[in-house]
Symmetry: C2
Subunit: 339 residues, 2 copies
């Protein structure tokens, strides 16, 4: 089996990471087309020793492809996904555009991978903060049903794309040079600061990012009664999202039970446990696939509950890796259908 | 009334801030002695247009003084506070050394200021993260009794002193220059990273900082049943601690009631409310007295509870300002006693 693929948003932070993950995982790619906006068209991007020219999207661009991985924002996805479906390819979309659509499976392969096969041409990739949180929660949820989750995030600037990373570095230099940090991508300075504002505020006081984490948790864990209280905060970290989590269950879960559940779960790794041996930080998770979990202890606010800290590379498990894992799960069927 | 004072740890981050706060608040200081370790002795520190020589502590150093403000760590406080008391002065201690001593009041003047008068020679200043949290919680607690608090912190490097600030700046330059960040003060790199480790880990998985926040909250709010779940995290911010808080009460508290309680409370300021008008960040709180509160919304995990984000300058309300406020509350009595 060999796949004909395309990436929309190929020159962005997630697009470049998708190329890296395809290479690393030796995904059998027969043909790869790369799409981006006008200003990146004509650029040449290396992939497996070759150079691929970046194109703009025209009619028929997706004909004859098995799957298209999109990471170019919700507006682009809303416009392009219908074309992909119409032209007979599978859309694996990293934006928020279709995540609440009941006809579009929202998939983290390790958690609800079986839902991917139910797709009708489109599969949604979850919000990165939700994906990292749920990788840690799902093994516990399956055993003891999580009822309440309080989570505060420490989100890297790359979650907002390559320009946001550049802005963080530029502002940091400005501050070190005694200048004022001038915000452009972020609404406020991010150098040596934290911003309790990821995506837009809504009238009830939550941000769209927080609403995504709350709603997507319920949808991916398939538990409409789960209550999630998220505070999403941007921090001057270039890569990897961290989350401080307290979770209450239907029944008490001991530290040892949690350790054992995580030890058996794919895609997570307990570090610094017993705690004296260390803690997981964003720098430890950079470029790595597993979500790192540490600082495990009993929760003081949820009876029989747990508190912990988890860190994941949001460009990987939160985006590129998860999208490629979805592709791997459904690609044989997609490739077969085309034949 | 005019006071004879001393500062122990006068050249540290908090010591320098105490001098600034004494100047700003026009505290009537007749005489001021500054103490620090051997290596700072002989340095001259400006105060109200004069220069004061920094001394090392000798026998009799505290005779004839009304009060001594200490901020030189718990080890120094354990050694020096008994001498201060023996030599007839009041010790206002910023370290954790005496905070759990039932004979030593632990005071945030706006919350339990009346306890200051019960001192027997020593008054303890709370942990900075606890002080900032409790400034926001106390007005709500008085009205509706807080029962459960989940808090995740975003703590500035200056909470660990001036050397930690230097390390953050140095490491940041190293990373921008393409070098590896070398940790010295912090156990791991702090530049472009977050460290879910403030103070030491203990066998139950909590850090000493988290235990301080939990225990001191109960002590200052005088509610032994209050349950606090704290995750303390160091972030690459030079100054000001931020905290993401979810709190459940004995009865439902509406957003409007919280707004009204905070509007009447001294030392706190609601910003960005309604939320669309902005959010509080560490850069907004720098050098300012009030604890800034924002991102107010209903809690999803505590019925009738609230979630919010608060930010305070931990060198001020978390340390220097609070110590000087304690001094102002008890100084008339202290000065009178001496006469």
């Amino acid at each position: 089996m060999s796949l004909s693929l395309a990436i929309v948003g190929a020159t962005g932070a997630v697009g470049r990471e998708i190329l890296r993950v395809l290479e690393e995982r030796s995904v059998p790619v027969a043909r790869l087309r790369l799409f981006a906006s006008e200003k990146s068209a004509g650029a040449r991007v290396p992939f497996r020793g070759e150079e691929i020219a970046v194109e703009t999207i025209r009619d028929g661009a997706f004909r004859g492809l098995d799957a298209v991985l999109l990471s170019a924002g919700a507006t682009t996805s809303r416009r392009v996904v219908p074309q992909i479906v119409r032209e007979g390819s599978l859309a694996i979309d990293n934006s928020s555009a279709f995540r609440e659509d009941p006809n579009v499976p929202l998939v983290v392969p390790e958690i609800n991978g079986r839902r991917a096969a139910e797709h009708r041409g489109t599969i949604a990739n979850p919000n990165c903060t939700a994906a990292i949180l749920l990788m840690a929660i799902a093994p516990l949820h399956r055993a003891a049903r999580a009822r309440r989750i309080a989570v505060a995030s420490y989100q890297a600037v790359s979650g907002k794309g390559a320009r946001a990373m550049d802005e963080c570095v530029r502002q940091t230099r400005e501050v070190l040079d005694g200048k004022r940090a001038v915000p452009e991508v972020f609404p406020r300075p991010i150098a040596f600061n934290v911003l309790p504002l990821v995506d837009e505020l809504t009238p009830d006081g939550r941000t769209r990012e927080e609403i995504k984490v709350e709603n997507e948790s319920r949808r991916i864990l398939e538990d409409p009664e789960l209550r999630v209280d998220a505070t999403c905060v941007r921090v001057p970290v270039l890569r990897c999202h961290s989350e401080a989590v307290s979770v209450g269950f239907d029944r008490p879960v001991s530290l040892d039970e949690a350790r054992s559940l995580w030890a058996q779960a794919p895609g997570v790794q307990l570090v610094g446990d017993p705690p004296a041996s260390g803690v997981p930080t964003p720098l430890d998770a950079e470029g790595r696939d597993p979500v790192l979990i540490g600082r495990l202890r009993a929760s003081a606010v949820f009876d029989g509950g747990l508190s912990f800290f988890c860190v994941g590379d949001q460009l990987r498990k939160g985006a590129a890796l998860n999208a490629v894992q979805i592709l791997e799960a459904v690609a044989p069927a997609a490739a077969k259908e085309r034949r």
